[in-house]
């Protein structure tokens, strides 16, 4: 049967098929996950109950899921913006790190200011720095047609070294640990519900409609989508492709940079080599891919991945550290294999 026939003949019967595929996509990682648990002679039921409790099964699980999903989502918004404009920004990881680094520089150097102003200043500088950092790759692409996948990826390693410099040399703790001194409490993000749910998570909620509005309701978003769908058609109709790409890259990097600044003030409280957590910048790319570049699906995929990251403690006990990344990789593989869109 040809592709066009397949598209033309989509019927309710196919819906059942699609649901079946989703079930398989969930079942495969579950089976793989069960093997080491069973081999270690542990109870599968207890294992999955534990996972459920540390993620979506309890209020505490939900909070920890939100804490993990938030940076994935914010950086993911930037990645999605880039992907929709046909720019393969693999650099959210580095842009996040730069956001945290410059955010910490503000914390150290800023004069005493009202608390709200302090926080906004860190956010602003972190976002701006992430954006400018991404612009290096953006400019190389627009000016010299350098492949942005390579440049954004390589700049990630540069940025992570920047974090090492900041945390282990420039602002190293006098105790000799591989992290900086903690930020003053006036810079710590206020929390709600419990000690972990910081207000930075609310930023994620606010950004969702904003980015949606930008992409679908403004002339700028119109340009981004036109360039992403068909750069030649965009150019033919007079859309400034290079300039628009630079603006988009600035925004994309800024979102990742903001995620880094929020992580600094809301979660780690200091500059350290694990500032991007379990590689939030890369998980953000996976969230975008799982969402099929669709903005409306990003909250779901970010929550799903946030849940997996929150379950990592349970996984670590039963299987091993990093097991969550194994699962994420597996889910991605299954999704990519099953869904071509």
């Amino acid at each position: 049967m040809s592709v066009s026939d397949r598209v033309a003949s989509a019927t309710p019967r196919d819906t059942a098929f699609v649901i079946a595929k989703i079930l398989v996509a969930i079942a495969i990682p579950v089976v793989f996950l069960s093997i080491p648990v069973v081999l270690q002679g542990e109870s599968l039921v207890a294992f999955f109950v534990k996972i459920w409790q540390t993620t979506f099964g309890t209020p505490g699980g939900w909070i920890s899921t939100f804490v993990k999903a938030s940076p994935v989502f914010i950086a993911g918004l930037g990645v999605l913006l880039a992907f929709r404009t046909g720019f393969w920004n693999i650099g959210a990881e580095g842009q996040m790190a730069v956001g945290a680094f410059t955010g910490y520089a503000v914390v150290v150097n800023a004069p005493p200011l009202p608390s709200v102003v302090q926080l906004l200043l860190v956010f602003l500088v972190g976002a701006l720095a992430g954006g400018v950092y991404a612009l290096i790759a953006g400019w190389l692409k627009v000016r010299f047609d350098v492949n942005e996948i390579l440049t954004t990826l390589m700049l990630n390693f540069v940025a992570l070294l920047l974090i090492d410099y900041g945390s282990q040399s420039r602002w190293s703790s006098p105790l000799g640990y591989p992290f900086s001194e903690a930020i003053p409490s006036s810079y710590e993000l206020p929390t709600i519900f419990s000690g972990d749910f910081h207000v930075g998570i609310l930023v994620a909620f606010a950004l969702f409609p904003l980015v949606g509005f930008l992409l679908y309701r403004t002339p700028l978003g119109f340009r981004f989508r036109a360039i992403g769908s068909d750069p030649d058609a965009a150019e033919n109709s007079g859309i400034p492709v290079g300039r628009s790409t630079l603006v988009m890259v600035l925004l994309s990097g800024a979102l990742a940079g903001l995620a880094g600044a929020i992580e600094l003030l809301g979660v780690t409280g200091r500059l350290q080599s694990g500032i991007t957590g379990p590689n939030y910048g890369y998980v953000a790319i996976i969230a975008t891919l799982l969402a099929g570049h669709k903005l409306r699906r990003l909250p779901i995929t970010a929550l799903f991945l946030g849940g997996l990251l929150a379950a990592s403690v349970a996984l670590q006990v039963s299987i091993s550290g990093g097991a969550e990344l194994f699962i994420i990789g597996l889910v991605l593989l299954v999704v990519v294999a099953f869904y071509e869109d």
């Binding site: 049967m1 033309a8 403004t218 859309i239």
Partner: protein, 505 residues
């Protein structure tokens, strides 16, 4: 009782709600060329793809030599003796001619068969006069377009087919290559006793080569005829469906002495690979005239059009638009000055819905405090769709759901809605488009001229250039080699010669 080689009865094909073939009857005998003539979207290609096993028919019966024929893939069609040469070649450019032909045959490359294949293919090429026998080791990328097509034909015929399906085979050929190609077809039917189905939207072609012609319109057979029984006027009427088939060669409105809209002086442009594509070209376009740039594809006309419309920066030379030097101006800047571009491809964004496509050029005028005005956008789209009778499934359909002709109508409709326009640069505006839409677009361009604006028509379609241009320049190898001030008085052969003569400098 003898059966026809191929017989289709009441073939029907639906894609969702769209009926592409309604009730198609078709017959092919050995030793004949039977053309299927129709406008774009008439259902020709669908029918062809059914015969070749790409689509499966919704209803109807097909017989080959009297036996039921139900191919479930192109490979299946080939084993049953039916082969198709696509409009766009499916050859692997870096592979040799021989490898391309034997590709997919069992053990073709790696065992003793290869010598046998080589010999047989060379023989076949000799017998059919395809002139490929001494080129079997050439890479396909080294061949001219006409030769590539013969490779495709040889590839199909080497698989021992009885029926050859050809989809718009002449669209990329030069006039000389078309003649050679028709010679090959003649030999195939007369000496090899093949049955050939030729899909085309070119009337003269169908009349020149066919034994029979079946005309399709809107998925239905309008009639079957032979070249002896019909003239081109009647055929055009059958295809298009109304009797308004007068030529567009409109009488020119005399505006008297006109101002120069665009003056190009000593323009030299390099292509993406750094080669000189436009070589010291000078030319003037006045208000109230259509100037044609005609040439064989790949002779610099695309680069010329892109350079004068702000998409390419020339190496040297001047382009004055209404008295201002516009070298280095952007596409947007020139558009604001009233210079429109109708590109030959990428006129619309496929994934965009129709209203979004209608504001592609002037989306910046469609916002209120940076919020796109959806209602205004939709009403513009509604107007374009109505004024240009664009056939759409609905206003929220994406451009990818439209046929080529309707995409082009949408592009041209939205462009010519610009009140500030002063000049139109159109690049192959009717390429691959049905007769009806073609005439419609020609009318629009002529109307632009008659209203005192200028048109630069860059085209590879000689008939088009001769029928609507007031002046005609021939571009060959990046240079303007001849200018005809009165296209009405020149012959096609004269212009064709200028287009194809090498070493013209």
């Amino acid at each position: 009782m003898s059966h026809p080689l191929l017989e289709a009865r009441s073939v029907r094909k639906e894609f969702g709600d769209v009926v592409a073939n309604r009730d198609v009857d078709f017959e092919l005998e050995r030793g004949e060329v039977h053309s299927i003539l129709g406008a774009n979207g008439a259902g020709k290609s669908t029918f062809m793809k059914i015969l070749y096993g790409i689509h499966r028919r919704t209803d109807g019966k097909i017989f080959v030599d009297g036996a039921p024929y139900n191919p479930d893939s192109p490979a299946d069609a080939l084993t049953q003796g039916i082969g198709l040469v696509f409009q766009e070649f499916k050859l692997i450019e870096p592979f040799s001619v021989l490898d391309n032909i034997t590709l997919g045959l069992d053990g073709a490359t790696f065992d003793d068969n290869s010598a046998r294949h080589r010999e047989e293919i060379a023989d076949l090429s000799e017998t059919l006069g395809l002139g490929l026998a001494d080129r079997l080791d050439w890479r396909v990328s080294e061949l001219a377009e006409g030769e590539k097509q013969r490779v495709e034909i040889l590839k199909i015929l080497y698989r021992d087919v009885d029926i050859l399906l050809l989809d718009e085979p002449t669209s990329i050929l030069t006039p000389q290559e078309v003649d050679e190609f028709f010679g090959v077809l003649d030999r195939l039917v007369e000496e090899e006793d093949l049955g050939i189905v030729l899909i085309t939207h070119k009337l003269d072609e169908a009349l020149a080569i066919s034994d029979r012609i079946t005309v399709l319109r809107d998925g239905d057979v309008v009639g079957e005829t032979t070249p002896a029984d019909v003239d081109s006027e009647t055929l055009a009427e059958m295809m298009v469906g109304h009797d308004d088939v007068a030529s567009v060669a409109d009488h020119r409105v005399d505006h008297g002495e006109q101002d120069a809209a665009m003056t190009v002086d000593g323009l030299t442009v390099r292509n993406a690979r750094g080669q000189v594509a436009v070589d010291d070209v000078s030319l003037t376009v006045q208000d109230g005239e259509i100037v044609g740039i005609v040439g064989v594809e790949g002779n610099g006309q695309t680069e010329l059009a892109r350079a004068v419309s702000g998409l390419l920066t020339p190496d040297s030379g001047r382009v004055d638009f209404h008295g201002t030097d516009v070298v280095g101006a952007s596409r947007k800047g020139l558009q604001d000055e009233g210079l429109l571009l109708i590109p030959d491809s990428h006129g619309v964004v496929e994934e965009f819905e129709i209203p979004e496509n209608c504001i592609l050029d002037d989306y910046e005028e469609y916002h209120d405090n940076f919020v796109i005005q959806g209602d205004r956008m939709r009403s513009t789209a509604q107007r374009v769709v109505e004024e240009y009778s664009v056939k759409i499934p609905g206003l929220d359909a994406t451009a990818s759901q439209l046929s080529g002709g309707n995409k082009q109508k949408l592009t041209i409709g939205r462009k010519l809605g610009d009140e500030n326009r002063r000049m139109v640069v159109a690049v192959n505006p009717t390429k691959g488009i049905d007769v009806d839409t073609k005439r419609f677009i020609h009318d629009k361009l002529v109307q632009e001229r008659n209203e005192g604006r200028s048109v630069l028509l860059v085209t590879t379609d000689l008939d088009e250039a001769l029928s609507i241009c007031d002046r005609l320049a021939v571009i060959n190898d990046g240079r303007i080699v001849s200018v005809f001030d009165d296209p009405a008085s020149v012959t096609k052969q004269e212009v064709g010669l200028a287009m194809t003569e090498s070493e013209s400098r």
